[in-house]
Structures are given as C-alpha cells and as structure tokens.
Amino acid sequence: MTATVTETTGPVPVARAYRFELVKLLAQWRIRLLLLACWLAPALFVAVVSQQSSLPVDTLFGRWMNVTGWAGPLVMLGFAGTYALPLLTSVVAGDVFASEDRLGTWRHLLVAVRSYRRIFVAKALASLTVILALVVGLAVSSAAGGVLAVGDRPLVGLDGHLLAPADAAGQVLLAWTCVLAPTLALAAIGLLGSVALGRSPMGLLLPAVIALTMQLAQMLPLPVAVRLALPSYAFIAWNGLFTSPAQLGPLLIGIGVSLVWAVTATTLAYRLFLRRDFTSSTYDGSGRRAITAGALPLLGLAGLTVAILAAATPALGSGIDQDKVQRSVATAFAHLYRLQTGQLHRPDVTEAQLGVTAECTKGGGLNAAEGPGNDWRCVVYWRLPGIEATGSAIYQLDVTADGRFVADGDGPKEVNGYFQVRTPTGDEPNPLWQFDGNVELLPTHPKG
C-alpha cells in the first residue's frame, strides 16, 4: 500500500452531499419503479381510457376525455392530488431520513459529511428533486397520452366556456404547477415524520395519513375558512383556473397556505434533526418529541391560519349559497348552449342574447338554499333572438362541499336529454345533458 498522508478538511459541500443523496435514492428499486411508472403509466391510462365508451364522468373533466387530449392530464391531476402525490411523497420524503436508521448508516454519513445542516439540506433537496421528477412525469406523460390519443383540441372549462388548445395547454401546465405547492407541504411533512419517527413505519405513512385526513375534512361541511386553511385545498383549488374569469382567490390562498406549511414543517424537521441523538444505532423516534416539536406546532399553524382567514374573509359559512349556484349554473348553461348550437349547426347566438338566468332551490324549497347536497334543483331560462317565448330547462344538481357540482339534465329532453351530437371529430353526448361546474367558495360580487 502506498498510503501517503493527505488532509481532508471541513464539512463536505452541499452540492456533493446532494449528489450523494441523489445517487442513493436513485439506486433504490422502488424509486426507479416509481419513476418508470410515473413517466409511462399515465400516458397508457389516458390513451386507453380516452378510447372507451364509458368515461370516468365522476372525475372532473373525465367526461371530456374522448373530446380533447387536454382532459386527460386534468383527470390525472385530480387522481394525483387524491392518491398519487400523497403516496409518492410518503415513499420518497417520508423515508429519506428513516432509511439511514433502517440501514444503520447514520454514523457513516456523519463521519463522511461532518455537518448536520448539510446532511439535512442535501437530503431535503434530493428528495425534492425526485418528487419533482415524479410530478413532471405524471404531467408530461398524461398530457402526451391525451394529445397523441385524442388530439390537441379545445377544452370545455368548468363554466362551459371553450378554451382554445393553446390556452388549454397553458392552463393545464399552470394547474400542475399550482399543485407543486401542496406537494411541497406534504413532502415537508414527510421529512418531519422521517426525522421524528426514525425507523417507525408511521414516519413513512405520515404524509399519506395526513393527506387522507385532510381529504376527509374537505368532504365535510366545514366553514370555508377552515377548508382554505388546510394545505390540501390547493389540490382542489386549481379547478378555479378553468372558469372565466379564473377563481384566483381560493387558489392563491391555497398555494400560500401550502407554502407556509412547507416552510414550517421543514423548519420543525430541521430543528428536530439537529437535536437528535446519533449515539444510538437503533433509533425508533421519540413519540413525545414528535408530538411536542412536530404535531403541536402544525396544529397551532392550522388554528392561526383559520383565525387569519376568518378575519380577512367573511367566510365562516359553507360558501355555497343560492345566488352563487344560480350564477354558476346560468353561466355554464349559456356557454354550453352556444357549444350545442354550433354542434347542431344552428345560427350562432351570444351569451348576452341568450340572457340565461337560473332559479335554484334546495330540498324542494323546504330547506334553506345553501350548502352542499344532492337535492339542489335549478330551472334555467333563456331567450332566443326573434322568439318571444322563453325557453326553460330543469337540472338536478349534486353540489359537494368543495364547491364542485354536477348538473344532470331533467328535461326537456330536446334541450338537456341524452342524445348524440355529430361533430367533426365524432359523435359526442349532448353537452347540455350533464355538465360539471364550480361554485367559488369565497364571497363574490356579481358584475353589473
């Protein structure tokens, strides 16, 4: 051996530690499998489903999957926000610290890097990089699958207005970009769980469990201020990008809340990491510390956010009232009526000429017309130029607590019944038969 003595000094630079962490992450078969799945499976799923006669109409934009390729990535986005992203962040961020506990490599890493701070930063950045690659994979793959299988065609928005293909592509990109914020929040919770709970499986599951809990909370009739104070709301709020004008208020609040959660949870994880005892090779986390230094501050943050939002926006109710529902239904009907008119080769009319109005009741008029429920009923009225009589159509509405609704045509069947319409791209269901819509939960002021 020719061991000439050389000095290695100081902690390892973050860039090198980051590369080291990335190499370790990418060497894991499950991460490779996830990357492969995220870059291939969405394209296959969207391409196959788009060709089916039975579409996932329960999912937002699912009913448009065989009409435009831009519906596919939005269906995937809905699925990702509910299942994929919480699970992906669990597997990556929820394990990035715990894996060293499992392998018993902390001491090796500390001796090699010589800096707690740099190890933390490198691990956080490496897991973030992998999560980003997974999210980009889901978005690109599903968009490619949709556009290749169905085509680069206009997309019908949530208020029925038509987005040109370029606009649809831009909005799809923006929607996926927006969900990076709640994904970051879940990733930060994953880091916190991984640091706080060590080898315990709960650390790995934490982002998924918290995401599931928040999703359940979003299904409950909570006050809007509470709903918006949860970082998971940004997984829903992107819906507002597909109305005209866009419902930016809830979206920006959701993104802001998510980023605050991301910063807070990362800071808590960092503080816990610095205080950890690395002298034991079998660290199973500290339950008490996980609660006092992890869970309680986040609960405090949620409470503080609710208080701030309640004070800043008078949004203590459900956010769903008769006036908003009527406006949303009328707007969507007007846009879709124009679409139907075009498809049926009738003379074009404008929304202003139609003058659509809606009268909505809930529970047959016995209940107060507010809040979520599947007992909303709306009668839509419109006029056509040169015709004295006023047209009317009935819709049954299922309004969910997050403001989304599905309107189901209840006659007359010539207007909103089920029939196929021949279009240049093939036969499609009557656009007025069933449609999705969205009620903005924050207080709004109607124009004019």
Binding site: V5, V12, R16, K24, R107, H108, V111, A112
Partner: protein, 315 residues
C-alpha cells in the same frame, strides 16, 4: 521535533442520561501505532471510539485528535475516519458504487487512493460490481475498511473489524492495517478477539464499566508478576513434570484442567514469567528438549479476565 500524539484524552467523561458511559478516561496513542481497546460488553468501547470519530462530544475532560482539540460533535479534524457498530454501506449499491459515491463526496482533491486499489487491498476485486445486499458480514467489514482506506486516513477508528472474517479475510485485513501503521497512520480498534489484538496491537487499553483498568504495551501485561498457564511439550514429559514440581513458584496443572490441550506429551504448568525461565533452564540442563512452550490462555486474555473480574468483584 516531538510529533504530537494521534490521540490524547484526559479525564474524558460521557453520560447518557443517568448512565456514565465513560468515567474519567485517559488515553494516549502515538502516531503509527495500532492500539487495541478491550473490555466486556457495555464497558464504553464504542462510546470512546465514537468520540474519536467525532460522533459525539465528551461531557467532561479534554480530547485532542491529531494535535487538534475537539470540543464538540463532528469537529474531528480531517484525516480521521472509520466505523462503529459496523460499516455504513448502502445495500442497493454495488461495492464499487459505494466507494465511488464516497469518493465523489470527498471531492477530487481529497481522493488519493483508487477504488480499484483499495478493493484489491481488501480482496474484494472479484465482487466489486455485486450489490452489497448479498454480501456476508465479513465482506461488509472488508468493504467498510476499503471505504476508510479510500480517504487515506491519518487516524483509523475501527469497531470490531474482525467480526465475521474467515481466516483468509482476517489475514488480509491484518496485512492492510499493519501496512497502514507502517506508513505512519494510527489505528485504534476494538475487538473481543484477543488473538487479533495480540497479533496486531503494540498497546492496548482495557476498559471495564467505563473506566480504564489497564493501558500500555502488551508486553507489560505478560511481564507483570502474574501466574499464567503454559503448555509445555518436551522430549520427556515425565522428567519435565518432575522438574516443574521441583522448580520454585512453578505448579503443575492437572490434566483435567487443561481441557482441549490434554495430551500425553504435554504438561501444563502454572508459573510467573521468572519462574518459567528457571524451569526452561533446568530442562535444558537435564537434556530435556523443549518442543513447545506457549500460554494456554493469552496474556492479554488472562489479564482481561483477571482485571475485569477483579473489577466486577470489587463493585
């Protein structure tokens, strides 16, 4: 010019809650020395090795490593490497990838040993591209040593490096450590294998319940006026037995005590070193050929047992 000690610890005390893991430990290790740490389980060996690696800081006392005072965790100077509680390896990477990742971590300026070179030194060239997941404990130990060699250490700290090694692997590891020490690096290692320590170490420190009960050259242990059992194989066992009984301070251990060494040609004698010298002289004068004279239990093991048992009974 006086070269500073590789390790100088004075009055090191380390607590884990209410437990005193190290109690006023002094340690001095000269450069180029292979120094052994011995002690029963829970004696504080791993804690002390962890302090040398900079994984934790002492609660009391002073510690200098390679001439640099160390007062906080992760503050060990450059050139210190090694492992405690087994080498830290990533099972999803191959042996070569583990080393390459570590080399990349250190940066191009610090890498002075080639990956192929260190793999060859520890005898893992043939499995260099196999994933570590399938490695035996002995192979992992050797790869851990290779990882340490990669950084050209000035102080190498190893916790039980002989665990799981077969005789060939042990020989290879011993060769590496001896060459490293010959080139001026210092090695501090712990082991429960007394034969390893005797083969490798010039000095040892025996710890018991967090305290140093002996520290110094191995020779000092056997030179101390302590009776040991020796296997004596001669050309005339009967004469040898008679002469042993006649020699002052020499006793003959009955064959039932000799255990696996029971042999008609072997006499087991119990004697301090000076009395043993006298017995050998008498055998030579009586024309009895001495074919083998070796301790039944190594001086280090005997001292270890004596010192630690003494400590236990004294508590």
């Amino acid at each position: 010019m006086d070269e500073p000690l590789a390790v100088r610890a004075r009055g090191i005390t380390k607590y884990f809650g209410d437990v005193i893991a190290l109690d006023c430990v002094d340690l001095a290790v000269a450069p180029g020395q292979i120094h052994g740490l011995v002690g029963p389980n829970g004696a504080g060996k791993t804690t002390l090795l962890g302090l040398l690696l900079g994984l934790a800081a002492a609660d009391e006392g002073s510690l200098e490593i390679l001439g640099t005072p160390v007062g906080r965790a992760l503050a060990a100077p450059g050139g210190v490497t090694g492992f405690v509680d087994g080498p830290g390896l990533y099972p999803s990477l191959t042996a070569r990838q583990n080393l390459a990742a570590l080399a990349a971590l250190r940066g191009p300026g610090a890498q002075t040993a080639g990956i192929g070179e260190v793999l060859d030194q520890v005898g893992l060239t043939e499995v260099a591209d196999d994933r570590v997941r399938g490695f035996s404990l002995g192979m992992r130990q050797r790869l851990g040593l290779a990882a340490a060699l990669l950084t050209k250490p000035r102080l190498l700290v190893l916790d039980e490096p002989s665990n799981g090694l077969d005789p060939a692997g042990k020989k290879q590891v011993h060769g590496v450590l001896n060459r490293l020490a010959a080139d001026g690096a210092t090695v501090v290692l712990s082991s429960h294998r007394m034969d390893d320590l005797e083969a490798l170490c010039s000095e040892v420190t025996i710890l018991a319940a967090g305290r140093v009960v002996f520290s110094g050259p191995l020779g000092k242990l056997s030179a101390e006026n302590r009776e040991l059992d020796y296997r004596l194989r001669t050309s005339d066992p009967g004469a040898a037995r008679r002469l042993a009984l006649e020699t002052p301070s020499v006793g003959v251990v009955e064959s039932t005590d000799a255990g696996p060494w029971r042999d008609a040609e072997v006499v087991v004698v119990r004697a301090p070193v000076p009395a043993l010298d006298e017995l050998v002289a008498r055998l030579v004068r009586a024309d009895v050929a001495v074919r083998e004279l070796a301790p039944v239990v190594s001086p280090l093991e005997a001292a270890f047992l004596a010192l630690t048992e003494q400590r236990e009974t004294g508590r």
